[in-house]
């Protein structure tokens, strides 16, 4: 996996920036922007998808505006934000342990377990949303934390154990939602509506944008700060860059790796809680995993290629793409299969564009 190859992201393309400053003449800047790999890769992706559309008889002049409107306008922005929040949360859940060189592929399990824990607490413990959210984070942390002793005591890599623990956790949450915690008398695969007190305050009545947005935003900012500006953040980076080096430098490597795994799990569990405590205010089986937050988030983090500040942007790109895809289906009558095709192509092309960019920067540096 190349995600860890340069996890420190410390190599800054300083000369490139200087060159930019020097090249004050507008023309050079414009040329470099236009020919920059990022722009080229987006252009390439657009060209290719346009070709696909034309080939199957979809009018691109309808589809593209629909894509933008579907993500950003006509009241769709609310839902794009609603999808952005959990994806960003899951991205951080993956990125925290990744900085320490551990892969957390068990996001779905941690998410589901956190969600069902929040639902159970909200239904049976009463009170506000605080306890359910803490319970959700704890559930996720415990599940992911389980991988730490497996790694340090038995040498089972976290990438394997998190993945293996994920499916059973999803099954457990599913079982709980279908049977013991199910809405009585309906037989539906969902819990009853959660009590009012436990619901997250929303921005506007019935809005899908809840305080989950500021919560995740603040936590992400804290992580970015911790990563770049704290001693534990430094030690985590060192651990990810060279475990033996960190151990030699007096870092408690096993404990720190466990902490990052648990922190990642806590993030994922919290996201599960935030989803469940938001509209429609219940745990609906499959609703947490169906949108594929976990893998979108992993793709975004890897796309950010070891630069944490780029993670929120990469998540935004992929979320807009997905939300816009649905808009295309609704407005331009693009079948959902075609949306998947377009999204798949764009992800591949952007993945290529991202490295072409970092490689050319590296060469200059």
């Amino acid at each position: 996996m190349t995600g860890v190859e340069n996890p420190t992201g410390t190599a800054e393309p300083a000369p490139a920036r200087e060159a930019e400053a020097r090249g004050g003449q507008g023309w050079a800047v414009v040329r470099r922007l236009v020919l920059s790999p990022a722009v080229l890769s987006v252009a390439g992706a657009l060209a290719l998808t346009t070709l696909v559309m034309v080939a199957v008889g979809v009018d691109p002049s309808l589809a593209y505006p629909a894509l933008l409107r579907g993500a950003l306008m006509d009241g769709n922005f609310e839902y794009t934000l609603a999808a952005y929040v959990p994806t960003l949360g899951m991205a951080v859940a993956f990125a925290i342990p990744l900085r320490a060189g551990e892969f957390n592929l068990g996001g779905d399990g941690q998410l589901s377990l956190g969600g069902i824990a929040a639902a159970a607490l909200a239904l049976h413990a009463g009170g506000s949303y605080v306890v359910p959210l803490l319970g959700a984070a704890l559930a996720g942390a415990l599940l992911a934390g389980l991988s730490a002793p497996l790694r340090t005591r038995l040498g089972i890599p976290a990438i394997v154990s998190t993945l293996l623990l994920s499916a059973p956790a999803v099954s457990l949450a599913s079982y709980l939602a279908r049977f013991p915690l199910a809405e009585p008398g309906t037989g539906l695969a969902q819990t009853p509506l959660l009590p009012e007190a436990a619901r997250l305050p929303a921005f506007g009545a019935g809005s899908y944008v809840t305080i989950a947005l500021p919560v995740v935003a603040v936590l992400t900012a804290l992580w970015l700060y911790a990563d770049a500006r704290t001693v534990p953040g430094y030690e985590i980076r060192a651990l990810g860059a060279n475990r033996e080096f960190a151990r030699y430098g007096g870092v408690r490597v096993d404990r720190l790796a466990a902490v990052t795994l648990a922190a990642g799990g806590a993030f994922a569990g919290l996201v599960g809680g935030l989803i469940v405590l938001g509209p429609p205010y219940r745990f609906v089986d499959g609703a947490l995993t169906a949108p594929g937050y976990t893998f979108t988030a992993i793709a975004a983090v890897l796309l950010a290629a070891g630069r944490p500040p780029a993670v929120p942007w990469a998540v935004a790109l992929l979320t807009i793409l997905q939300a816009g895809g649905q808009g295309m289906e609704r407005e331009a009558g693009v079948p959902s299969q075609l949306t998947q095709i377009v999204q798949g192509l764009i992800i591949v092309i952007v993945a290529v564009g991202a490295v072409v960019r970092s490689r050319s920067a590296g060469r200059r540096g």
Partner: protein, 556 residues
């Protein structure tokens, strides 16, 4: 035809290579004849490895060209270079950790029988080569499990096996024992006699003088001297390399200072930055402080349960440098790891300032590891971040302060680096070593443990590092130095311990540590006890708790 016969075997013409702001090679011309051993020397960062990498197709020059037998060749990859009859032993080892020694040696040119790898033939070929050139390795061993020194031998075997017409050796002897190095140079001479051209990069001038025909000196990416070996001297080479002569009193011994220092001062405070004619390095024999580092009947088992360290006892006093000699794999590594708390002791104790070392807890000694890329640095992290490791404390990280501190260390230890923000991997080998030393010497711990202090370091820096270690000793630190360089141990240490098969088989005061004695002890041969009655070879070492008693007496 005639032209070709007269043309040099390989020729570099006007080679220029730039890495960002660093001009690594600046219009270098260099020609090597058939059958010639051509040494390339220069300070750390002078551009030697870069030049060799260009010759081997790993880097492409910004300007200039490579000629083989008079004809220009395009070297876009090592595959091209190999096709043109070049072979290279890299300074940074390039081996496959999961493959066996034999597989590592033959890969790319494997013996095959009826479409299947001929393992027997591979093993035999490797064993034969190893035997012929005195490079002891087990063809079946997994390379990842071998100590660095042995890995280096594998790297050399690789080049020998391929029988290149032009052989590039980038610091091949950095971690070889003197015997092994001698064997290697015999081989190199044999090759040359067969018409092979050898390019030899090394910091050891004795090797240059003993093994080469001609020398090219690089400095700051340019050629600053070309010599016929027979008509030059070490001093002349050094002057071309660093623009001055070395400190004159290098081999002399300084007189003991009057009183042992009462307080431990961090090295930061000690005089460093040795310039021309600086204070000579020497041992202050006989002056005994208290034991700051004490090892009592230590046993350490390796992963297979074999005793890597078998009942070792010794002590290092404040204000003393103790040298640790031994053939690679004799238990030095495990001993050092236990002393530094990175490995758990099987039984026995390690005391630091009287307090036992607990494995996995905070490291209480400054430690310069021999494995630079594996342990001493995180190659992908910036130089600044690498220089911080071990000193970080508190919760907030102040990047500006980290960089400032790094810049100060770079300045003080004259590390050649373009920026403290760039990955430490961009530093030349010797500069990376200096960075590690800078970091560890700036820790104010009473005990300092150093493995291979001048591994890959140029002569000027060697002198500087030796001065730094001596200064640390003079400041009252206890210093344990492991080195495969016997001359280094003789120059630095007050006492030398020799390890063989996990035991300390000899302890020699530096005055008695001749090459012959050390060499004999290192290979397990019995030798007449130099310092007093011995009951047998096993008891030659410092047995049991005597040193402790001595210390108490001395202290009382």
């Amino acid at each position: 035809m005639n032209d070709h016969a007269r043309a040099p075997s390989v020729e570099l013409a006007g080679i220029t290579k730039r890495f960002g702001d660093v001009l690594a090679n600046d219009g270098i011309d260099l020609a090597v004849e058939r059958g010639e051993v051509h040494a390339v020397v220069g300070e750390n960062g002078a551009g030697k490895s870069t030049l060799m990498s260009i010759l081997y197709g790993l880097h492409r020059p910004d300007a200039g060209q490579v000629l083989r037998a008079g004809a220009p060749v395009r070297l876009r990859s090592p595959a091209d270079a190999i096709a043109h009859g070049l072979g290279m032993v890299h300074q940074r080892l390039r081996l496959f950790p999961g493959l066996s020694v034999a597989e590592n040696v033959v890969i790319g040119a494997e013996p095959v029988r009826r479409g299947v790898l001929d393992r027997t033939a591979a093993h035999e070929a490797v064993a034969e080569l190893a035997g012929r050139y005195g490079l002891g390795v087990d063809p079946a061993a997994r390379v990842g499990e071998l100590p660095v020194g042995v890995r280096q031998r594998v790297e050399i075997l690789k080049a020998l096996y391929r029988r290149a017409e032009v052989l590039i050796l980038d610091e091949p002897t950095a971690v070889l024992t003197p015997g092994e190095a001698d064997g290697l140079f015999l081989t190199v001479r044999e090759f040359a006699a067969e018409g092979v051209s050898v390019l030899l990069v090394t910091h050891k001038l004795e090797e240059v003088l003993a093994a080469s025909d001609r020398v090219t000196v690089l400095r700051g990416g340019r050629v600053t001297g070309r010599f016929a070996t027979a008509a030059t001297s070490a001093d002349e080479l050094v002057r071309a390399m660093i623009g001055r002569s070395l400190g004159t009193a290098r081999q002399e011994r300084r007189q003991p200072v009057e009183a042992p220092p009462t307080e431990l001062a961090p090295v930061d405070a000690a005089p460093v930055g040795v310039k021309a004619g600086a204070a000579p390095v020497g041992a202050r024999a006989g002056e005994a402080g208290s034991y700051l580092l004490e090892v009592r009947d230590l046993w350490v088992r390796d992963r297979d349960g074999v005793a890597a360290v078998a009942g070792v006892s010794f002590g290092v006093r404040a204000g003393e440098i103790v040298g640790l000699a031994g053939v690679a794999g004799s238990g030095q590594r495990e001993l050092v790891e236990t002393v530094t708390g990175l490995r758990r002791a099987g039984s026995g104790t390690v005391l630091l300032g009287g307090r036992p070392v607990e494995a996995g807890k905070e490291r209480r000694v400054a430690y310069v590891p021999g494995d630079r890329a594996g342990r001493a640095t995180a190659p992908a992290m910036s130089l600044a971040d690498n220089l911080l490791m071990g000193a970080q404390h508190g919760l907030r990280l102040r990047p500006a302060q980290v960089r400032r501190r790094a810049a100060a260390l770079v300045e003080r230890f004259s590390i050649r680096a373009s920026s403290v923000r760039a990955p430490i991997a961009h530093l030349s080998g010797g500069n990376a070593q200096k960075a590690v030393l800078a970091r560890e010497l700036s820790r104010d711990t009473p005990v300092l443990v150093v493995e291979e202090p001048t591994q890959g370091v140029d002569v000027g820096a060697q002198e500087q590092i030796h001065a730094l270690l001596a200064a640390a000793r003079d400041a009252g630190r206890a210093v344990l130095v492991q080195s495969s360089e016997l001359s280094e141990l003789r120059a630095l240490a007050d006492r030398v311990l020799v390890m063989f098969e996990g035991r300390v088989v000899a302890e020699l005061p530096v005055s008695q540590a001749t090459d012959e004695r050390l060499g004999a002890a290192m290979t397990g041969a019995t030798l007449p006890q130099p310092t007093g009655g011995a009951e047998g070879p096993e008891r030659l070492g410092v047995a049991g708790p005597q040193p402790v008693g001595d210390a108490e007496e001395a202290a009382g």
